[in-house]
Subunit: 361 residues, 2 copies
DNA sequence: AGACGGCACTAGAGCGCTCTAGTGCATCGT
DNA sequence: ACGATGCACTAGAGCGCTCTAGTGCCGTCT
């Protein structure tokens, strides 16, 4: 039963509201005073480390709960010397990145680390985002999405372990966890070839990040199947608009039997324009996307696509980081140690936009 | 010219790299020692407050730069008593929310506040997100996206100023900054009516957030034009799939001359399905979306839509928060003070999916 | 000349926490 | 009976910073 603990009246509490309604949030000292123990012992209980008897533990937790005590993150970080903080920079506009971020939260918190997000936006550069992380004294950083300039990447890696997720860093200074895009394109090509397709076009990503690797992945997969002669590439891009433009170009210039796009957004634009131009999918042409984004799963599209598992990438990245962190528990950084690139293979999700070729060509 | 400042060799520096490559990040004390001043004075310079001569200021900044000094956010927050921190909870999957978040960064940093993001994901509840913000001792919080349960909203508001962005909180405990959806639907109806449309259908959002207000906004706007008789509503939803389903239903049951959807994603699905079914837009039917999301702007869609300005919402929210913060500079919260709802009017962006009705009726 | 105001600067006390080095006390082996 | 061991607990320093209350020192007013 809730008892008033203060000259101020206790609020009607749901289960264990703070009995002190406002003023100043309760501190460790407050809990200690009230429970009749030292600050240090209360700290032990709160952190859940051994060193207190079961009865005191109960008592302290009870009081802490009563007071609505929550440890002050800042003070805790400061005093502990280490912060148990993993910083994440990410662009806010990409669903894949959001997915990775969600995975990082999960993985980090499972390992007892906290996560602090620092967004890159139109008005907030990657540089700024990284500096914020530094200011919070993160122990490690995960860079997902818009890549920071090589210069600040270098500056960052010499201060803490860094892993870049999702794209190959343009420097060997950081660990990289990414999906081998070439493998993904290979899967797509294999799938189409097994359906009898020969004339396959890749609508590439233009100068979008990772476009080059997907393009060369396509080319070499086609070569592997002895189809270098019937492989074509048309210029595309990372959004629906580019896909729509590519569709027009394909219809004008003669359709292949199958198309693999740079990503799902591009595929959506392509599909939409195909429909407008009277091209049926997968009747006239099969289409494979890349990303397995939310849109690919929609029942009216059911896009066959290459899935890169963001949560898995995140899990691997965090694992890698913690491993490095544990290797050198003091502040020393092993800059000399070689950085690794971890590849998380993608998988192909076959849905409704691919089918056996109508007339093998 | 870079000079070695330490027994460790200086790294080749780009402009002002830390001369101490690793170990421990430099502290205020380090800068003070090196510059020959007291910690306090260096602090004054770093914070940019008056109280140091111009020459010392120069000197201190020079040394700080040389050492690569960056203030420790945590310690700073702790010591200052106030944190100048604005916490933001947001869902990571909604582009509109990302937009708001970007606006918050901009507005907050312009006012000398820092921003800490706390994401709500599948594995991380709104409750957890809010608690993280509390742990960082944010001075204020902006809640955007998936609304926290009323109970934790209450718990939060009694501790710090809170503003909910984008949707009406289900309690009057917090300030709300949002777009009056009814006005947005009104704009859409006005526009269509001025183009001669009478038979207008609203594809609603089902149980999606805010769907009710948009639906009633539609109804009352139609009534205002004396078109209650020709207004129809069909069940939709917040994604492309719902739009596609609604399109099928409309084609089967007899087309109106214009459709207003719950949001852009829904409109996209609708448009796509229309194309597949041979319905031309805006020839046979005009379509208006809601959100002005990225997809609406694509040149192959050019969707007429209602735009809610995320950055503006964010700016207003931050302004409101800071105002409250300044009103009571000490820790006391004025719970009694009444909360306000600020409405930021939307505007209609006319693009290519609306046109004059072919045969009025 | 003495008092005074203002400026540049410093000493030192915390902010809320963690952590090391204890203290006291019961239990144990010999 | 003695010290040794282990356990529950505490004192106090200190993380990196900010901030209050100073200390000198110079110029100015009477």
């Amino acid at each position: 039963m809730p008892t008033a603990v203060n000259e101020t009246d206790a609020v009607t509490s749901e289960h264990s509201e703070p009995a002190v309604p406002a003023s100043r949030p309760p501190t460790l000292q407050d809990v200690a005073d009230r429970a009749g123990f030292s600050r240090a012992l209360v700290s032990i209980v709160i952190r859940g480390v051994p060193g207190a008897s079961e009865t005191t533990r109960q008592r302290v937790l009870e009081v802490a709960d009563q007071l609505g005590y929550r440890p002050d993150g800042r003070a805790r970080l400061l005093a502990a010397g280490r912060s148990k903080l993993i910083g994440v920079t990410l662009g806010l506009d990409n669903p894949f990145h959001s997915d990775v971020a969600a995975g990082i939260y999960q993985a980090a918190e499972a390992s007892g680390y906290q996560v602090v997000l620092s967004a890159v936006t139109a008005s907030r550069t990657a540089q700024q985002a990284v500096e914020t992380l530094l200011d919070y004294r993160c122990e490690a950083a995960v860079l997902v999405g818009p890549l920071v300039p090589v210069a600040s990447l270098l500056a960052l890696t010499e201060r803490l372990p860094v892993v870049v997720v999702g794209q190959s860093a343009r420097s060997r200074a950081a660990d990289v966890v990414r999906v081998p895009a070439a493998v993904g394109l290979g899967l797509a090509v294999d799938h189409l070839v097994s359906l009898g397709h020969r004339r396959i076009t890749h609508v590439d990503g233009g100068r979008a990040p990772g476009a080059v690797e997907r393009r060369t992945g396509f080319t070499s997969a086609m070569r592997r199947h002895g189809l270098a002669g019937t492989a074509t590439i048309v210029r595309g891009g990372g959004d629906e608009e580019a896909g729509a433009a590519a569709a027009r170009e394909l219809v004008d210039g003669g359709l292949p039997t199958a198309v693999i796009t740079y990503n799902d957004a591009c595929a959506v634009g392509l599909l939409d324009m195909f429909v407008r131009l009277g091209v049926t999918v997968p009747g006239d042409v099969s289409v494979v996307g890349y990303d397995d984004s939310k849109v690919a799963r929609l029942s009216y599209l059911r896009l066959t696509t290459v899935s890169q598992d963001g949560r898995r990438l995140a899990a691997v990245a965090v694992e890698r980081l913690i491993e490095r962190l544990d290797r050198q528990p003091d502040g020393r950084r092993a800059t000399s140690e070689l950085k690794r690139e971890v590849l998380v293979p993608p998988r192909l999700v076959v849905r409704a936009t691919t089918a056996a070729v109508r007339q093998p060509g």
